[in-house]
Assembly symmetry: C2
Homo-oligomer: 200 residues x 2
Amino acid sequence: MDDGSAEHARQKLVAGAADMIRRRGLTATSVRELAKHADAPLGSTYHYFPGGKAQLAAEAIAYSGNATAAILARELERGPLDGLRSFLIMWRKIVVDTDFRAGCPVLAVSVEAVPEADGPPRAAAAAAFAQWTGLLAGSLCDHGAERAAAERTATLIVAAVEGSIAMCRAHRSTDPLDRIADSLEVLVRTATEPTREGAS
Amino acid sequence: MDDGSAEHARQKLVAGAADMIRRRGLTATSVRELAKHADAPLGSTYHYFPGGKAQLAAEAIAYSGNATAAILARELERGPLDGLRSFLIMWRKIVVDTDFRAGCPVLAVSVEAVPEADGPPRAAAAAAFAQWTGLLAGSLCDHGAERAAAERTATLIVAAVEGSIAMCRAHRSTDPLDRIADSLEVLVRTATEPTREGAS
DNA sequence: GTCTATACGAAGATAGAC
DNA sequence: GTCTATCTTCGTATAGAC
């Protein structure tokens, strides 16, 4: 039973790290405050994560990336267009619900070339981006898109969404996210109906 | 002549801040190291920038945003497509020349909701994004695009470029930036030739 | 195995010597 | 006006008591 609560405490730290990185970025996320927020002693943090902050960050990024990928994969089952829309709505909800104070932890880690962010955390960020891009590209391929075009479109979607999340936070407005929606939908339609043969 | 060298020292601090924020983000950029890098005593920093780190950061963001805008405006004179290409090449050069260790300082500030980043720095970031988007949208309008479509396309370009810069850093590869290029060019062509009437 | 107490350095900012 | 020396707080990480 200790296993259960111990793993729970560990998980709480990872989830808390993801949330804090999402808001402040990695450097501004202190292990101290993280432990306090998770009601865990500071020492426990280094017991669960011998690799220190870097390990904690890497697991937080992987956790967050996988959670997003799971939702994306589920929504993509209804087709690439529905997947795209859900993806946009999901991020929109995060920035709105936090009054533009939170964004994407994967993005945050990717723009901080601090020693502790290199290595595991950066690798986890790259894996998350690759996972999301791969899911989108796969769905586009499944719906008639050519391989190369699918990868290009998927990359553009991920890049545009990430960039617009940051722009929304800077502007304290959802306009950037809302404005890219239409163009991305057009791109998805174009990619999945290359010859415009009148698919459903 | 003291004016000249004093202003030079000030400018050196601003440029150094922009460079450091570009690489590490705002939180990991210390005023101490900044002063050392600019060969200025720590006290001088607070003499030039009474507002402390926040003021320094805000000026660094504005400086960087204006520099980018100046280049973008110049290249856009040859048309939106040439402007887009130059924009992409410019960012590509930054990430490649620094071995993927530097990105966009405006983006970095936008994803760090730390107290010192709110206020002036965040406002400067929003202004930079708005300036770039405005320049692109204006050029698209000048070349036949409708107002709303121009703004959507311009926003998508800025968002996609910013996002792909972060992805390039995470992957340590220029693939993301290279992959979005084609799609963005198609979007610009579509926006400026809405009825496909065979413009020059 | 868990956690308190602490080591050690660096952060932002300032006071006061030149 | 310029800058050195310092104050205070907070960072990561650990040692050693329970």
